[in-house]
């Protein structure tokens, strides 16, 4: 059947949130929670004459991954840039709270969001804070949270911050992570410092390769659902690690990174300081080539 064949080669970047979940999980195991048929969408968008979405841009539910019970969040980047509003964030918080009782093996958070939805700015901002707290509740009980970043919106703003709260973060080369996006940096620093239309610069700065090379992401994964699925399965089962010791270790790493690379104007400088002698070649390397190169260090 057509859909079955496509599963293993499905391009993660181009897939919708629903397709990603359907291809990620063991076939037929996904049960959507608070589905679109419940009929609750954004109560605020009509003030801005913006069409709503039946799931408010996020799909949540439970299923199996390689036989392990998991809870899943998948943001739809094509709806309002995956931006987080009241209903969107409440759905995520609800699933996270549910995990404390249902105790899945892991929570998978498939990010695809530019951050807080301006039309619902305060609700989105509070929603992000509530998601962070509920996510850390899940980790505090020992359930690991995996973040996956490979959609067209990446994880920016509040979503970028949430991604930094996961146990394990996986990113594809196409994925991007940040707080303020390229246009904002350009406006703030001038186009001479940052030209938002320079795609190569944007990906060197925010893209998966840079995040992976600096240790901001744990895994660099090919742009396919099958690869992300396999990458997560290599970890399961595993406990969450949210403790004072782990944060003290993180503090030391973050401090060292800031000191070592302070004054850097480009990722190429950072990569060179990391020990890569030909950093300008890195953007053209495949995921496997880059991982092999890093292993040699």
């Amino acid at each position: 059947m057509k859909n079955k064949k496509r599963q293993s080669t499905r391009n993660y970047l181009e897939a919708t949130a629903r397709q990603r979940i359907s291809d990620f999980l063991d076939k037929g195991t996904f049960c959507e929670l608070f589905p679109p048929t419940v009929g609750v969408s954004s109560p605020h968008l009509h003030y801005f004459s913006i069409p709503r979405s039946f799931d408010d841009g996020v799909v949540i539910g439970e299923g199996m991954l390689g036989g392990f019970p998991v809870a899943v969040v998948a943001q739809e980047g094509r709806f309002m840039g995956g931006a987080i509003g009241e209903v969107h964030s409440a759905k995520i918080v609800g699933l996270l709270k549910r995990c404390l009782r249902s105790r899945p093996e892991a929570l998978l958070f498939l990010f695809d969001s530019g951050g807080v939805r301006l039309q619902e700015a305060n609700a989105g901002e509070l929603g992000v804070a509530e998601i962070i707290r509920a996510l850390l509740d899940v980790r505090a009980t020992g359930i690991p949270v995996f973040g996956v970043i490979g959609g067209s919106c990446g994880a920016f703003g509040g979503a970028g911050i949430i991604s930094g709260c996961c146990d394990i973060l996986m990113v594809s080369e196409e994925g991007r992570i940040g707080v303020s996006g390229p246009e904002v940096i350009e406006t703030n620093m001038g186009v001479e410092v940052f030209d938002a239309r320079d795609k190569a610069l944007v990906w060197r700065t925010y893209g998966g390769k840079n995040r992976f090379l600096q240790g901001q992401a744990n895994e660099l994964v090919e742009n396919s659902v099958a690869e992300f699925r396999a990458a997560i399965l290599r970890y399961l089962p595993c406990p969450a690690n949210y403790s004072l010791e782990s944060l003290e270790k993180e503090y030391k790493e973050l401090k060292k990174r800031a000191e070592k690379f302070s004054g850097s104007h480009d990722a190429l400088e950072v990569w060179r300081k990391l020990g890569f002698e030909e950093p300008e070649k890195i953007p053209a390397l495949t995921t496997d080539e880059l991982k092999m190169l890093r292993e040699k260090k």
Partner: protein, 104 residues
């Protein structure tokens, strides 16, 4: 923004749905979202549309009539969030949704 509703009495067809609902498409510019679900409508069908492009009711009517003619569905509730999709794209999504609804 416009809200449109169309109702069809039983058309002598039947829908052997394999699931209770499907959702296809996304609400992005030039696209639409179709939520198709099984519902108790005495064999009939209902369409509820929210669209960002006003003034196209005739076009919607034509595409929907076409869809009804093609599949002769029964007891199907179709809800749509549209962001300016062309009739061709609307037709495509309706077909995709129906095929997914009945696919074993």
């Amino acid at each position: 923004m416009e809200h449109l509703e169309y109702e069809f009495k039983e058309v002598g067809g039947e829908t052997a749905a394999a699931r209770t609902y499907v959702l296809v498409g996304v609400v992005a510019s030039g696209n639409l979202e179709v939520l198709m679900e099984v519902a108790e409508l005495e064999g009939g069908c209902r369409f509820s549309i929210d669209t960002s492009a006003s003034g196209f009711s005739q076009s919607w009517q034509a595409v929907i009539a076409d869809f009804m003619e093609r599949f002769r569905p029964g007891n199907v509730l179709v809800s749509i969030n549209d962001h300016g999709a062309s009739p061709a794209v609307v037709s495509l999504r309706l077909d995709q949704a129906y095929e997914m609804l009945v696919e074993k």
